[in-house]
C-alpha cells in the first residue's frame, strides 16, 4: 500500500513533537496562536473558530428577538383599545406575520443551535466543532436571510399572511406583490442554515467526544441538543419542499395548491405542519436540556434518572413527528384520523412528565442554591406545566374546535414557548455568561429582571385564555367595544410593557457585566460538566490537552480519579489544528485529523447564495446563472492550498 504518491509533493519532514499532559506554558501559547482567528478585517470575515461564530450567532438571534419583541409591543398597543386607529389592517397583518416569523424562524430555533455550537464542543471535550467552515457558512446564510426579511419589511414588503402563510391567501391570486415570496425565501435561508448546523452538531457529538465519554456519560444537555438536531434533519425538509412549491406556484405558475387544477390547499398545511410541530419541539427540547444542565449544579447532586431522561428525550423526538394534524382539526379531514392524532398529541405529554418528575426528584433530594439561573428554571415548572396542560385541552378535537385559532391558542403557544424555552434560555445565559465572557452577571439585577419577566408574562398571557374563550379570534387588527374584550386586552398590553421593562433590564445586565461584572473563575457555580474544567473565557483551542473522561460529571469526579489512569491525550500537534477523532459508541481514540484553517470563502459563498436566493424571487432563471458564483465560491473554498497541504503532509500518517 503506497504511502501516498511521491512525485506530487516534497518528501515529508519529520513529525514535530505533540502536546504533553498537562501542556507546558509555551505549548499553550502555541496552541492559542494556532486556533485563534486571524486579526483585522480579513480575519473578521474569515473567522471559523466555533466560539467566535457562536457569539455572533447568539448576538444576531438576540437582535432578532428584540426586533420581534418591539413588533409585539406595537401589536399590543394597537389592541389596547377598541377601534384603535394606530395601525391599519395592512400594516398590522405585516406586524403579526413578522412577529411570528421572527420569533419562530429567526430566534427560537437558531439561538438553540448557536448556544449548542459554543457549548457542545466544550462539554464533549473537543477543540472545535466538526466542519467549522460549514458552521461559519451556516451563520452567514442565517444572518443574510434575517437581514433580507427585515430589509423587505422596512420596504413594506413584509410577509402579511401569518407565520404559516396558508394558501390560497398566500397563493398567487390573493397574495399580490412579492411579500409572501420574501417570506418563503426566508424559509429557504433559515432552513439551509439550520440543516447545516444540525450536521455540524450531530457529527461533533458522534465523532469528537473525549476518550472515555461513552454514550451513557454524555451530558444530558448534549443529549437534548443531539435529539433536537436529529429532529431538524427530518423536519426541515418538509417546509423547504412546501415553500419551494409555494414560490413555484407564485412565480412560474405551478398548481400545487390550486384546487381548480387538482392541487390541494391542505397539501401545504400537511407539509408545513409535518415540519411545524417538530419545529415547536425543536424549540422546547433544548429548554429541557438547559434544565438538565442547571438543576444538578444548583441542587449540588447528579441528575436523578439519567437513563429515563435520555429515553424521554428520544421518545419526545420520535413522537413529535406523529401529531401534526392537531393543527388541522377544523378542516374537513376524516374524524377517525383526527382521534388518532388526539391520542398521540396527549401521549407525547408522558415523556415530558417523566422529565418534570425526575427534575422534581433531583431538587427534592438535593441541597438548593438559589441563584438567578435556578430562578428562571423554577419559572419553567409554573409556566410550562400550565402551557402543557392547555396543550392537552387543545389536543382534544371537540375542545380544539371551540378554541382553535383564538387567543386561547395564542396564550397556549406563548406559555409553552416562552415558559419552555425563553425562561430556561435566559437562565442558561445567566449560567454560562461567565464561561462566555469571563465576567459574572449581576445577581440583584438578575432577580429584578426575573420577577418583572415572570409577573409581566403572566399578566400578559393568562388573560388571553379568557379572551379566547370569549370568542376573540387570532390575528384581528381591532375589535369593537361591545365585544367585551377591552379590559383584558388593556391588561395584556400593560403586561407586555412589563415584559419590555424586564428585557431592558436584561440588556443592561448583559452590557454592564461585560466590563463591570465580577471576574469569573473557571467554575463559578461548581458545575460538573467538562466546560467548567477550562478557563473562562476558554482559550481558542478549548483544551490544551483533550481530557479522558471516567464518569458523567468529570469535574465533580476529578478528585476520585486514580492517578495511574491516563489524564489526557498527548501527542497532538501544537502548530496545526489537530483534533482527536473517536469512535461513536465508546469514544475510543481512532485517529487525529487536521481541521481546516480560517478562510474567507464560506463568507463569499454565503454572499453568492444570498444573491441567488434573492434574485430567484424575481426571475426563475436566477437559479441557473446564480449557481455559477455559488459553485465557484464553494470550489475555491474546498480547493486545498499548497501550504496547507504541505503542513498536512508533515503530519500525515496513512490508516
Amino acid at each position: 500500500m503506497s504511502n501516498g504518491p511521491e512525485q506530487l509533493q516534497p518528501p515529508a519532514p519529520p513529525r514535530p513533537p505533540g502536546n504533553s499532559v498537562p501542556a507546558t506554558a509555551n505549548e499553550s501559547a502555541a496552541l492559542e496562536r494556532t486556533w485563534r482567528d486571524p486579526p483585522g478585517l480579513y480575519g473578521f470575515f474569515a473567522a471559523i473558530n466555533h466560539k467566535t461564530i457562536s457569539k455572533r450567532f447568539m448576538l444576531a438571534t438576540f437582535g432578532f428577538f428584540l426586533a420581534g419583541g418591539l413588533i409585539a409591543l406595537l401589536m399590543r398597543l394597537q389592541l389596547a383599545r377598541p377601534l384603535n386607529g394606530m395601525v391599519g389592517p395592512d400594516l398590522y397583518n405585516q406586524l403579526f406575520s413578522m412577529h411570528g416569523t421572527t420569533m419562530m424562524f429567526l430566534f427560537a430555533v437558531p439561538v438553540m443551535q448557536a448556544v449548542a455550537v459554543y457549548l457542545v464542543p466544550l462539554m464533549v471535550g473537543a477543540k472545535t466543532v466538526a466542519f467549522p467552515r460549514m458552521n461559519a457558512y451556516a451563520y452567514w446564510v442565517f444572518l443574510f436571510g434575517g437581514l433580507m426579511l427585515y430589509g423587505a419589511f422596512l420596504l413594506n414588503i413584509g410577509p402579511d399572511a401569518g407565520w404559516f402563510s396558508y394558501p390560497p391567501l398566500a397563493g398567487p391570486e390573493y397574495g399580490p406583490g412579492k411579500r409572501v415570496d420574501f417570506w418563503a425565501q426566508m424559509i429557504t435561508f433559515t432552513e439551509l442554515s439550520a440543516l447545516l448546523e444540525a450536521i455540524v452538531i450531530i457529527t461533533t457529538v458522534f465523532k469528537m467526544r473525549a476518550p472515555g465519554m461513552t454514550l451513557n456519560r454524555i451530558p444530558l444537555f448534549v443529549w437534548a441538543l443531539l435529539v433536537t438536531q436529529f429532529m431538524v434533519l427530518f423536519a426541515m425538509p418538509a417546509v423547504m419542499l412546501g415553500s419551494t412549491g409555494l414560490i413555484m406556484d407564485r412565480l412560474i405558475g405551478t398548481h400545487f395548491y390550486n384546487p381548480a387544477q387538482n392541487g390541494d390547499v391542505l397539501l401545504w398545511q400537511h407539509l408545513f405542519w409535518f415540519f411545524g410541530h417538530p419545529e415547536v419541539y425543536l424549540i422546547f427540547v433544548p429548554g429541557l436540556g438547559f434544565l438538565s444542565a442547571i438543576i444538578p449544579t444548583f441542587a449540588r447532586r447528579p441528575m436523578f434518572g439519567y437513563t429515563a431522561m435520555v429515553l424521554a428525550l428520544i421518545s419526545t423526538g420520535f413522537l413529535s413527528f406523529g401529531l401534526w394534524v392537531h393543527h388541522m382539526f377544523a378542516t374537513n379531514l376524516p374524524e377517525l384520523g383526527k382521534s388518532f392524532f388526539t391520542a398521540v398529541s396527549m401521549l407525547i405529554a408522558i415523556p415530558s412528565a417523566v422529565q418534570i418528575f425526575c427534575w422534581l426528584a433531583t431538587l427534592g433530594t438535593g441541597r438548593l442554591n438559589f441563584r438567578t439561573p435556578l430562578l428562571f428554571v423554577l419559572a419553567f415548572f409554573f409556566i410550562l406545566v400550565l402551557g402543557g396542560l392547555t396543550g392537552l385541552m387543545l389536543a382534544s378535537v371537540p375542545l380544539d374546535l371551540q378554541v382553535h385559532d383564538t387567543y386561547f391558542v395564542v396564550a397556549h403557544l406563548h406559555y409553552v414557548l416562552i415558559g419552555g424555552a425563553v425562561f430556561p434560555l435566559v437562565g442558561a445565559v445567566y449560567y454560562w455568561y461567565p464561561k462566555f465572557t469571563g465576567r459574572m452577571m449581576d445577581e440583584r439585577l438578575g432577580r429584578w429582571q426575573f420577577w418583572l419577566f415572570f409577573i409581566g408574562f403572566n399578566v400578559t398571557f393568562f388573560p388571553m385564555h379568557l379572551l379566547g374563550m370569549w370568542g376573540m379570534p387570532r390575528r384581528i387588527y381591532t375589535y369593537t367595544q361591545e365585544m367585551g374584550w377591552t379590559s383584558l386586552n388593556l391588561l395584556a398590553t400593560v403586561g407586555a410593557a412589563v415584559i419590555g421593562a424586564s428585557v431592558l433590564l436584561f440588556i443592561v445586565n448583559l452590557w454592564r457585566s461585560r466590563t463591570h461584572g465580577a471576574p469569573a473563575p473557571a467554575d463559578p457555580w461548581g458545575g460538573g460538566t467538562l466546560e467548567w474544567a477550562i478557563a473562562s473565557p476558554p482559550p481558542a483551542g478549548n483544551f490544551d490537552a483533550i481530557p479522558v473522561v471516567y464518569g458523567r460529571d468529570p469535574v465533580w469526579e476529578a478528585h476520585e480519579r486514580d492517578r495511574s489512569a491516563p489524564a489526557g491525550v498527548s501527542g497532538l500537534a501544537v502548530d496545526a489544528r489537530e483534533q482527536l477523532i473517536t469512535t461513536v459508541l465508546d469514544a475510543r481514540p481512532d485517529h487525529r485529523y487536521v481541521f481546516p484553517e480560517p478562510s474567507i470563502w464560506p463568507f463569499l459563498a454565503a454572499v453568492a447564495t444570498t444573491v441567488l436566493f434573492i434574485a430567484s424571487i424575481f426571475t426563475p432563471w436566477a437559479v441557473v446563472w446564480g449557481a455559477v458564483p455559488v459553485a465557484t465560491a464553494v470550489t475555491i473554498w474546498f480547493w486545498p492550498r499548497r501550504g496547507e497541504t504541505a503542513r498536512h503532509l508533515s503530519l500525515e500518517q496513512s490508516p
Binding site: D90, L155, N156, I157, E173, Y174, K178, D249, G253, A260
Partner: protein, 191 residues
C-alpha cells in the same frame, strides 16, 4: 467612495420600485368621476338613468396610472372576472366577440388614457360604456390589468396565475408586445 455611492443609488432605485409595487392604498383618488359627459356607445349594463346623469367632472387628463402597483393589478384582475369582461374578451384577454387584448394590435390606442376612455365611454361595435357603473379608481385598475395582458407591465408587479382553470400564461410571464395601432377593416373583428 464612488463605488459606495453607486451601490447606494442602485439600492435606492430598487427600494423605490419595491415601495411603489407594494403600496396598498384603499382610499380612492379625489374627484372620483363616475359618469362621462359623453358616451360613444348606446348600450350600458343595468339601466340608463332617466333624469340627468349625476354631475361628473370631465374625464381626467393625467393618467393616474397604477400599473406598477401589484395590489391594483390584482384588483384589476378580480374586476375583469367580476364585471364579466371575459364574456367578450375571453378569460386571458385572448379575444372572442370583443377584440383580443393580449396581442400587439390596438384599435383605439394602447396608452392608459385610451383604454380608460374605451371602458368609460364605450366604443362602437359593442363595447358598452361603463362610465357611470364603474368608479374611476376601479377603471384605472382595470386599465392596468388590461395592459398587463399584453405584457406592458413590469413582471414583478404583474399578477401571477389565478386559482382557476387557466389555459393561458399568467400575466407575469407574458412577453412584452410592442403595441401597433391598426384600424378595424369594418368590423372584421366581430366575424
Amino acid at each position: 467612495m464612488k463605488k459606495l455611492a453607486l451601490a447606494l443609488a442602485v439600492a435606492l432605485v430598487l427600494a423605490l420600485a419595491a415601495c411603489e409595487r407594494e403600496k396598498r392604498d384603499f382610499e380612492p383618488p379625489q374627484g372620483n368621476a363616475t359618469a362621462p359627459t359623453q358616451r360613444n356607445s348606446t348600450i350600458q349594463p343595468g339601466q340608463a338613468i332617466g333624469a340627468a346623469p349625476p354631475s361628473a367632472p370631465a374625464m381626467p387628463t393625467t393618467a393616474y396610472t397604477v400599473e406598477n402597483n401589484a395590489f391594483a393589478l390584482s384588483q384589476g384582475k378580480r374586476l375583469y372576472r367580476w364585471y364579466n369582461c371575459a364574456a367578450c374578451h375571453a378569460p386571458g384577454g385572448g379575444g372572442d366577440w370583443g377584440p383580443p387584448l393580449s396581442d400587439a394590435t390596438w384599435i383605439y390606442g394602447a396608452e392608459p388614457q385610451n383604454i380608460f376612455l374605451s371602458i368609460a365611454q364605450g366604443r362602437p361595435n359593442g363595447m358598452p360604456s361603463f362610465g357611470s357603473h364603474i368608479p374611476e379608481d376601479q377603471i384605472w385598475q382595470l386599465v392596468a390589468y388590461v395592459r398587463s395582458l399584453s405584457g406592458q407591465v413590469r413582471a414583478d408587479a404583474a399578477p401571477s396565475r389565478a386559482d382557476a382553470i387557466s389555459a393561458n400564461k399568467p400575466e407575469n410571464r407574458r412577453e412584452k408586445e410592442t403595441p401597433v395601432i391598426r384600424l378595424p377593416n369594418d368590423g372584421a373583428h366581430n366575424k
